[in-house]
């Protein structure tokens, strides 16, 4: 069957079977490989994308459910201010080693920082609990997110 969905701002028509996962369709049919698959069970968070602006696990969605919806991946069109701030802070704070978990974390917090401009560390930690990272021990990730949040507030205050 053919479904029509918006991916990174572009309307795409894709031929899928009903049992195809969104993560597979993004990666294999649309060549958007920034969305990583670490468990296919909704636990690791590596596959997190935005669906209509909200974080969702692409491995838990069937592609057919996306008919008429908008999906944003890390490759995304023009990056949001949140994503730009996160990228800069992740680089400075060495918040990724192998980088496999990183796209899911960036997408999760691009939405979180947008919706919680005044977030505190406890809130960040609570949300980050949904993403597994085997390399960093999480400390630098928390520091980077807090730094990105502070940088965004500074920009907003100017």
């Amino acid at each position: 069957m053919i479904i029509s969905l918006t991916v990174n701002g572009e309307v795409r028509d894709v031929a899928v079977e009903p049992h195809y996962l969104l993560s597979d369709v993004l990666r294999d049919r649309l060549d958007l490989t920034a969305t990583h698959v670490g468990c296919e069970q909704g636990i690791c968070g590596a596959c997190t994308v935005l669906v209509d602006g909200q974080p969702a696990r692409a491995c838990l969605l069937f592609a057919v459910q996306m008919e008429g919806h908008a999906v944003t991946t890390l490759e995304g069109g023009a990056p949001s201010v949140e994503l730009r701030a996160l990228r800069a802070a992740f680089h400075t704070h060495h918040a990724q080693q192998c980088g496999f978990c990183t796209p899911g974390i960036l997408m999760t917090f691009a939405a979180y920082l947008r919706d919680h401009p005044d977030c505190d560390e406890a809130g960040v930690r609570a949300v980050l609990g949904g993403n597994l990272c085997r390399c960093t021990g999480y400390g630098p990730i928390v520091r980077a997110i807090m730094a990105a949040s502070a940088a965004l507030r500074e920009v907003a205050d100017v």
Binding site: E17, H19, Y20, D24, R27, D31, T33, A34, H36, V37, G38, C39, E40, Q41, I43, C44, A46, T73, L74, E75, R87, F90, H91, T92, H94, Q96, Q97, C98, G99, F100, C101, T102, P103, L106, R125, L128, G129, N131, L132, C133, R134, C135, T136, G137, Y138, G139, P140, I141, V142
Partner: protein
């Protein structure tokens, strides 16, 4: 050799980050190969069974299925893996690429489907009909070592695949004569690496050139190529191994596994590209496990807590198949156990058992248990004698003047500052004011763990220990015609940041800017043959080889520059950020020449080269590190355990470390914190569980829990680094000691807290359930620290 280290030591953010953060990284599964077929493996649901028959008819009928093969089919194309190094007490083992008539663990390979896509391959897999005759399984290593046990590998006639004994001095005599003998036990649970990127590969056979290309996340592209070539009956020149971005490995991506070899064989057989991506369940069930070890120490001590003699008894569960010599992991624990303590009379006995479980391999700090066992033993001694644990450590610790010290395990300890790291840690953690106590709601404890981390193993170590293989590393540096410096080494990164740190090393060695150094790794055709990434050898072996190679480049460029400047000798000339300068007291002066000028001469105007200098600028250098380099550290933590629930909280965690010269503090800090986190995750949470029939009960991330952000405390890292006296730049290595220290520090802190209620734990992981039982049911009470 260089006038100064300008870039080594700088906390430079990594150049790798851009592609990772932009979503432009390329992991194996991101790489498109036109026309590639997809493979899926049918795996055994039983812990141990005879394969009676396999019927693939229905699977082959499914549209899109290209072939289905069994172990019997593939045996024609691939030779068996024989692990038989000449090591006393090690029994040789052998395994085919896929089992032919008997499966030995749940998840063992039964058949492989190759189809147009993964969905079809998996559907076809479900249509394969296998008749099994289930056999009794043995999933406990102690049971496996009993005479009446089921045999895992019938060809062996026993499950005792390795037994190793080592003696220095006369520990038995010391034990017999000692005023006191104190025993302690330690049991570490089975764990697995669980990189967030699972295994996977793409094999392509070019029938015209008769050449195989394997794209695979690997720590060791060249040794992997050697394995493939041997198993497939090819020549080295017929195989290329390419490791792209790798989503974590931690020791899991070293061996050539059976799945990967089967994919290579199928690509050759079919003449078409074949790819495979492991799912998480396969990864947890059947990739590679680690760490299941039991130890008992017996220490002869005097009344002051001084150890007069020590023995270690160790049993390891190696699972169903040997991808490595079975003594190799435990042996290192035996070799380094005594660490910085002066114990002349020491012996170990190691027994390694086969069981009906997934095969094991090295996992980040395969020798991790050593620190917990040694430091835990010291704590038991202190408790039994009513002494202060730090004081007992001081009484046994070697004085700095005693280094280098011939350890009773056979290696030479030097360049460590254990007393300094320990005393600093004691101050920082507030040791003097601490007493284990109970406030009615919580039990409070403090744990210490001194770590001596064996980081880099040179060829001499392998030779001495009979393990075989080489510890050298190889570097190649090309100054390109435009002056860019291209550097490579036989290592492959999985997040360690080599592209950044090696550029810093080469920049200093040659005398150019890091931005002018390109580091390319992970391809067997373009990197020199090296031993790859394992243990903590990245900096010392890889960085060392590159630095030595870079020094040759620099000397060559300076000779060329001198000639261009009309000089007979290079005296007074230097290379600074790619420019040839006159080195003057208090500064330097430009000569007007730079590396690009020299490169143009070397490539395009060879007649302008000095007498005897050949055109071109390519350099190759190997480096074999000392037999063993050591880093050291002290870990200390304070914990509290809730009486009601057994919940453990880490209130403060710190590491005082000495890893030698630091190339990039940002990267080193990241590696150290990551290692501590992995150690904590293993100590607190992770557990591969099998039932008696050999069924794996922990093959999802819901059951095999690894640490989330909520489980990892803030980790304070305090540097007390001293350079190595024997390696280029004084590099030592690190990245594993954090695991070693975390296990010991937390387990010791927990037992300090439990001592208030007279309880002890000797088994990991330290789950709330286990701790609750220890507090309330007396489980484990008095089990630790019996006097013999």
């Amino acid at each position: 050799m260089s006038e100064r280290e300008a870039y080594v030591g700088q906390p430079r953010p990594r150049r790798e980050d851009h592609r990772l953060l932009a979503g432009l990284a390329r992991y194996v599964d991101d790489i498109k190969v036109t026309g590639a077929l997809h493979a899926a493996f049918l795996r055994s649901p039983h812990g141990h069974a005879r394969i009676v028959s396999i019927d693939v008819t229905a699977a082959l009928e499914l549209p899109g299925v290209v072939t289905v093969v069994t172990g019997e089919d593939l045996a024609e194309d691939v030779t068996d893996l024989t692990v038989a190094p000449p090591i006393e007490g090690l029994r040789p083992t052998s395994m085919p690429v896929m089992p032919v008539d008997r499966v030995r663990f749940q998840g063992d390979l039964v058949a492989c489907v190759v189809a147009a896509d993964r969905y079809v391959a998996e559907e076809a897999m479900e249509r394969i009909v296998v008749e099994y005759a289930e056999l009794p399984a043995v999933s406990d290593m102690f049971a496996a070592l009993r005479d009446d046990s089921v045999l895992v590998d019938e060809a062996l006639g026993t499950n005792l695949v390795a037994r190793r004994v080592h003696r220095a001095g006369d520990p038995e005599a010391r034990l017999a004569a000692a005023p006191r003998v104190i025993e302690a036990e330690f049991h570490q649970q089975r764990q697995t690496h669980a990189p967030i990127e699972t295994r996977g590969c793409i094999a392509q056979w070019d029938p015209g050139r008769e050449h195989l290309t394997l794209v695979i996340g690997s720590q060791v592209p060249h040794p992997l190529r050697t394995q493939i070539v041997r198993r497939l009956g090819l020549r080295d020149s017929q195989v290329s191994v390419s490791s792209p971005d790798v989503g974590g490995s931690f020791g899991q991506k070293i061996a050539l596994y059976r799945e990967e070899l089967a994919i290579c064989a199928l690509a050759r057989r079919l003449g078409r590209p074949v790819r495979w991506k492991e799912d998480r369940m396969e990864n947890l069930l059947a990739a590679c496990h680690a760490r299941e070890q039991w130890c008992r120490t017996r220490a002869a001590v005097d009344d002051t807590g001084r150890i007069l003699g020590l023995t270690l008894e160790m049993v390891e569960d190696f699972g169903a198949y040997c991808f490595y010599p079975a003594n190799y992991i435990s042996e290192v624990v035996g070799i380094i156990l005594t660490a910085q303590y002066g114990i002349a009379d020491y012996g170990y006995e190691i027994r390694v058992a086969l069981t009906n479980k997934c095969g094991v391999g090295p996992m980040r700090a395969p020798m991790a248990m050593a620190s917990w066992v040694m430091e835990g033993t010291l704590d038991v001694i202190a408790r039994r004698l009513g002494l202060d644990p730090a004081e007992v450590r001081r009484r046994n610790m070697l004085a700095d003047q005693a280094l280098p010290y011939a350890m009773p395990g056979g290696e030479t300890l030097l360049d460590v500052n254990c007393a300094e790291t320990m005393e600093t840690a004691l101050d920082e953690i507030g040791y003097a004011a601490h007493r284990p106590h109970d406030d009615g709601r919580y039990l409070y404890g403090l744990g210490l763990c001194n770590v001596v981390e064996s980081t880099t193993y040179g060829s001499r170590f392998y030779k001495n220990s009979g393990i075989g293989g080489s510890g050298h590393e190889a570097a190649r540096i090309i100054v390109e015609p435009d002056g860019t410096v291209s550097a490579s080494v036989g290592m492959a990164a999985a997040g360690q940041g080599y592209e950044t740190t090696f550029a810093q090393v080469v920049a200093d060695g040659v005398g150019v800017r890091p931005d002018d150094v390109a580091v390319t790794l992970g391809h067997s055709d373009t990197s020199p043959y090296g031993m790859g990434s394992r243990g903590g050898r990245g900096a010392t072996a890889g960085g060392g080889a590159l630095y030595l190679c870079a020094a040759e480049v620099r000397a060559h460029l300076l000779r060329l520059a001198a000639h261009r400047l009309g000089l007979n000798a290079t005296d007074g000339l230097g290379l600074r950020d790619g420019r040839i300068v006159w080195v003057r007291a208090g500064g330097s002066e430009e000569t007007g020449l730079d590396v690009a000028d020299l490169a143009r001469t070397a490539y395009f105007d060879p007649l302008a080269l000095p007498e005897g200098m050949r055109p071109g600028l390519e350099f190759y250098r190997t480096y074999d590190p000392p037999p063993m380099t050591f880093s050291n550290s002290t870990h200390a933590c304070r914990v509290r355990i809730a009486r009601e629930t057994g919940r453990l909280e880490i209130l403060d965690y710190l590491v005082v470390e000495n890893c030698g010269t630091v190339i990039n503090p940002l990267v080193v800090h990241g590696q150290q914190a990551g290692a501590v986190a992995m150690g904590l995750s293993g100590t607190l949470l992770e557990n591969v569980v099998y039932d008696q029939a050999g069924r794996n009960l922990s093959a999802t991330f819901a059951d095999y829990t690894i640490a989330t952000v909520a489980d990892i405390p803030a980790i304070r890292i305090i540097a007390r680094a001293t350079p190595s006296s024997r390696t280029p730049l004084g590099l030592k290595g690190m990245a594993e000691g954090g695991v070693m220290g975390a296990i010991g520090a937390v387990a010791n802190a927990v037992n300090d807290a439990l001592s208030v209620v007279g309880a002890q734990v000797t088994c990991l992981p330290l789950t709330p359930m286990r701790l609750h039982a220890a507090i309330h049911d007396g489980i484990g009470r008095a089990a630790q620290g019996q006097e013999g």
